[in-house]
């Protein structure tokens, strides 16, 4: 078959494609926020606030979409959106008589649906309804703490699943180095009963405690809501196994001539090649050389051309 190599003609597009290519170490997932065919005011507020909380890495669609992820062939458009926007988590809000204030959290692997959790929202309180010192408002895209409270998160399968999804949704960028001064937010989740989770977002105040570790104080800044588990779909075992694969850790090259000692720390051996001191040209006319000339004069026979030759040599 005849083939042709096609490469983007613009560097910007090439860079964008490279960003989307699979990576050995992933640093975070983008979130897609979607509205179903019908949404309530509560849902609109929730979706916009989730978008706000994840402002750096979320894409929000404000048009209505007829998507029913739990039904057969309901994933196609989701998968399409996932490819288009390069998002691997989605949040879909929909409102119906049967399932009022419905939120579906889902994740994709390789742009195919991986798992789904459906929750109903109750007792929603928006950020605006909380009164607190505005200085405490968390910064955009700061790394959050998580606190999960309750036995349910381990014993009940749905809650265990929800915990995982919530953690993945809100954890933000995966980092290795972190600034301790930038810690300012916590997501607290409590399993109230076997199908109900109380979720709230708090700001954190670091207070002096006399030790290195500051004393933490939580101030509720919202949004806060109750999540009532409805339907959920776990990933296939085979898919899960594949998705959990981690990049093999890069085998470190053995560093030559460096040893580590418990007492002395890092020790290095240095080999210096022959310096060839005799043949190295001198940077400036050293006084020592002049003395040599003087000595030659002292001897008396110092004829001038010979002297010059010597000078040239020394240069």
């Amino acid at each position: 078959m005849m083939m042709k190599i096609r490469t983007p003609s613009k560097g910007r597009i090439r860079r964008e494609l490279e960003k989307r290519a699979p990576k050995l170490v992933e640093t975070g997932k983008k979130t897609l926020i979607l509205h179903g065919t019908k949404t309530s005011n509560v849902l609109n507020a929730i979706l916009s606030q989730i978008h706000h909380l994840k402002r750096n890495d979320s894409v929000r669609f404000t048009r209505k979409n007829d998507i029913k992820p739990f039904e057969s062939s309901g994933e196609t458009s989701l998968e399409f959106f996932s490819v288009k926007t390069d998002c691997s988590i989605f949040v879909l809000g929909s409102h119906s008589k049967k399932r009022p204030n419905n939120l579906v959290f889902g994740r994709t692997y390789d742009h195919h649906i991986y798992d789904l959790v459906e929750v109903g929202v109750e007792n929603f309180k928006s950020t605006e309804s909380f009164s607190y010192d505005k200085k405490l408002t968390p910064h955009v895209a700061s790394k959050p703490f998580f606190a999960f409270i309750g036995e349910g998160f381990e014993s009940v399968e749905e809650l265990k699943h929800l915990k995982e999804v919530l953690l993945d949704l809100f954890r933000g960028e995966v980092v290795t180095n972190m600034n301790l001064a930038g810690l300012d937010r916590v997501y607290v989740c409590t399993a109230v009963s076997s199908n109900r989770v109380f979720f709230t977002h708090c700001a954190m105040r670091l207070k002096k405690s006399g030790t290195i570790v500051p004393r933490m104080e939580l101030v509720e800044v919202g949004p806060s809501m109750d999540l009532v588990i409805r339907r959920h779909r776990l990933p296939d075992d085979s898919l899960k196994k594949e998705a959990m694969k981690q990049a093999p850790e890069s085998t470190k090259k053995k560093v030559k001539n460096v040893t580590k000692d418990a007492i002395e720390g890092k020790i290095g051996k240095i080999y210096i090649p022959n310096q060839m001191v005799g043949s190295v040209p001198l940077p400036n006319k050293a006084k020592g050389l002049k003395r040599e000339r003087r000595e030659a004069k002292m001897k008396g026979e110092g004829s001038k051309p010979a002297e010059k030759k010597q000078k040239q040599d020394s240069d």
Binding site: L24, H111, F145, I149, L167, S193
Partner: protein, 355 residues
Amino acid sequence: MTEYEIDLGNLMAFDSHHNFASPPSSREELVKATLEHGTKLVQAVADALFDLPSTEDLDGPIVQLPHQQQQNCPEQSLYGYLWTTKTLFICSQLPKPKPPTRWELFAQKKGIQKRKKDKIVFDEQTGTWKRRHGYDRVNDDKDVPIIEAKMDEDPGEDPFAKRQKEKKNRVEKQEKNRLKNLKQAAKVGALPSHVQLAATALPITGTQAAPRKVSKDELQNVAGMAANATASGGKFDKKLPGEKPPKHDKKYRKFLPVVEGSGMGSLEKQQTDKVLNKLMSKNSHEILNVEKAINMYKVKEEKKRRNQKGNQSSNGSKLKTNKKSFKKTPKKGSPPPQVKGNQNEISLLLFLILS
């Protein structure tokens, strides 16, 4: 101290032992209990976090979080279980290693090693430093003005053209090799992210030329034509949803009525008038001497006014108009000299046209 599960990679703490003895009666109580317990958990994370070795920076102490893979298994520590969840999966397949190219295989077999080359090389022909590749490069064929003929060469052949052709062939060959290697990579699924391999021909027909992209309109047109290709001109055919009648891009030819009359009948006259007008207006600047026409008009006006003056006594308003005409006279100036010679002819032409 109760034991919590702490995940430092995600700054997460989980208390799996907590259980509400009695469900909190009111919402405020629940919130209060949650915040209280949450603070404890957060404190536990902070204890572990601030315990890590940190380096001071301008913005604050910077801590290196434990590597995700280093702590897969739970590890007993001072603060309970210290571990990192492996439950969070990756969002796309791991990138696959690129298979070696033909050259790389060959080089490995022969023990040829890559070595760095300078970007800039000394050019002996010109005695300057030049780039190794690209525009204005070292040993460029274009820099050679004379090629010495060899004995065994065909005298009719242009050596420059020959050299150009050879180079072109070499480039084409390399492109072919590149495609071969990329195909091999695509088989494994290790194609570079920015490269696409596109089919240029159908596998069955094997046509050489790349298929032209057909636009939506063209497709619609063809579909419409195909639908109309029945004995009845597609009149009784069922229309598909969204199907439109075929578009007629060209103009329909229109014929004017042969017999003259009013309305439609006078169209032909109008048409010819239009053409004539257009032709004349195009050349009107040569025919019409504006300067002279204005002069004539002014003279006429003057005459009229004089006649009126004879009839009527002078008015205040008249004075004003007089002033105006007075002001305008210096502005007029003398007509441009080059037109002067033609004036007689022009006025004659003007007369002809107006009549």
